[in-house]
């Protein structure tokens, strides 16, 4: 039997835990901005992390982008054919991929692949006292491990998103080309015809925010991992779930802000 006072206690404890967590995450993010602009910059580790995040994600991004391009074209064609508007296909695909699908698909893949990797790596370092070992060797583990990883995802994910969009457009072009004669130049020209400078800026801004989110969530969860190996798995899992959740919220906010800018 759980009485009302016990329920109240559990609820207040959960609420307290939630706000403590939010406060800790805020402090962690603030510390990142403080440390990011202070020497030493650990450039070698930053390059190494960019390589880990960027180059190692390329095969997956290439495959996914290519398939998204093909599938989206295949599914859009019948609807446009009904209205005799197949000539609008490249523009439709351009808008969909550059403005939404390219950044979002890249962010979700990286949240899964990179975010979980960072969460698990730092979580494992935390529970095996490797982070403490850095600290007692007079090395700032936050700067060496967190700042470099967050900067790497913030720099690399926008580049990956642009690459993903171009690969998706290429997949789409191949599908269009199989159905009708069309040169690659005219396809890309049509695809970009309806894309404005604001769209490109919005898209790049989104990916910078997604990159930062994936990095900060992954490092936060890993850096604060507890409870041994179970905690490592939990950190990796939470890094993915929370990053994806935040990415969707950010998507809505950024699109809304971009629309306000466009209309006013």
């Amino acid at each position: 039997m759980v009485n009302i006072s016990t329920k109240k206690y559990i609820f207040s404890k959960a609420l307290d835990g939630y706000f403590t967590g939010v406060h800790k995450a805020y402090q962690f993010t603030t510390l990142f901005f403080k440390e990011a602009f202070k020497r030493p910059f650990h450039l070698l580790e930053l390059i190494n992390q960019c390589f880990e995040v960027g180059l190692k994600s390329l095969p997956l991004i290439t495959l996914t982008g290519f398939i998204v391009g093909i599938v989206f074209t295949k599914q859009s064609r019948p609807s446009l054919e009904d209205f005799g508007a197949t000539s609008w296909l490249p523009s439709l695909i351009g808008i969909a991929i550059i403005k939404a699908l390219g950044p979002l698909v890249t962010a979700l893949i990286c949240a899964g692949k990179v975010g979980s990797g960072i969460g698990a790596e730092l979580g494992s370092m935390k529970v095996t006292e490797q982070i403490d070992a850095m600290e007692v060797s007079a090395i700032n583990p936050f700067k060496y491990l967190v700042v470099t990883r967050v900067l790497a995802t913030t720099i690399t994910i926008p580049i990956l998103a642009l690459y993903c969009s171009f690969v998706a457009l290429y997949g789409s072009y191949l599908n269009v080309h199989a159905e009708e004669t069309s040169s690659m130049i005219s396809f890309y020209r049509s695809a970009f015809k309806t894309i404005s400078f604001l769209d490109i800026i919005t898209s790049v801004t989104k990916t910078i925010v997604y990159g930062f989110t994936i990095g900060i969530v992954g490092t936060y969860k890993g850096y604060n991992a507890t409870q041994g190996t179970r905690g490592v798995g939990k950190a990796a899992n939470q890094a993915v779930v929370l990053a994806m959740f935040l990415i969707f919220i950010e998507e809505v906010i950024i699109v809304q802000v971009a629309n306000w800018i466009r209309y006013y």
Partner: protein
């Protein structure tokens, strides 16, 4: 043992001085008024059961944890009042050997040893780093493992590399957290010998956290018996062993039966 006894201890120079130290985690009081001194050149073994607060004590000494109350002076500095570069400058002078070695598992042995050196001493040439790494690896007897990854090493070898990693910064104080736990008796004896060699070769003062009586007896010039956050008895092994205190007797009897 012979070397240990010959080692000179300077009773006029305290390298660690702790007074009235208290530490709690939420409602759990771990340290309840610790007073402790470590003299230059001395090895003190802190004995106690799991959960008695031994590891918390050395984590406070190195500044990984902040005390709730009390004064912790290490090499003349109030550790709990230091932050940033001042704390880093002190930590370079303290070596900390972790219970599970805490080797960086993404780096090989060479990188594990070179990492703290290159991060703390600027403008070192590759040759200087190589020489320093080879020197400490020689001193722990594992020069042939330089290219191995930590996962390829045995428990005893990992402990040795962990000690070597701290020695590369030439510390004045060594803190050992359970140096023989999880090791077979022969490897334990080798680690004990290494701790004594380190004291001789690098002229360090050490705090050895352990629940292994053999380790405490062989490495400690003094023994401090910690129980439920308080020192029950501090003195030579013979003094502590002769104590009438029920808890101390219980700990010794249990170890000998084991």
């Amino acid at each position: 043992m012979e070397n240990l006894k010959q080692h000179s201890i300077n009773k006029d120079e305290k390298v660690i001085s702790i007074t009235g130290l208290y530490k709690s985690f939420d409602d759990l009081e771990v340290l309840k008024g610790i007073d402790f001194d470590l003299f230059k050149g001395e090895n003190v073994a802190v004995l106690g059961k799991s959960g008695s607060g031994k590891s918390v004590l050395i984590k406070i000494i190195v500044g990984l944890l902040k005390p709730d109350r009390g004064e912790v002076i290490v090499l003349g500095k109030h550790v709990d009042q230091l932050v940033g570069k001042e704390l880093d400058a002190l930590r370079i002078r303290i070596g900390f050997s972790f219970q599970n070695s805490a080797l960086y598992d993404s780096m090989n042995v060479y990188q594990n040893l070179a990492f703290p050196l290159t991060m703390n001493v600027k403008n070192l040439s590759k040759g200087e780093v190589d020489r320093a790494v080879t020197e400490v690896l020689d001193s722990v007897g594992l020069a042939n493992k330089i290219k191995q990854m930590p996962s390829d090493l045995s428990g005893g070898q990992r402990k040795r590399i962990g000690i070597a990693r701290t020695l590369i910064l030439k510390p004045e104080i060594m803190l050992y957290d359970e140096p023989t736990s999880g090791l077979d008796p022969i490897t334990s004896a080798e680690i004990i010998e290494l701790i004594n060699e380190v004291q001789q070769q690098y002229n360090t003062s050490s705090v050895i956290i352990t629940h292994d009586l053999t380790c405490a007896k062989s490495t400690g010039n003094r023994i401090a018996m910690l129980h439920k956050g308080k020192f029950l008895k501090v003195g030579t092994f013979e003094d502590v062993f002769a104590s009438d205190n029920e808890q101390v007797r219980g700990f010794f009897n249990y170890n000998f039966i084991q």
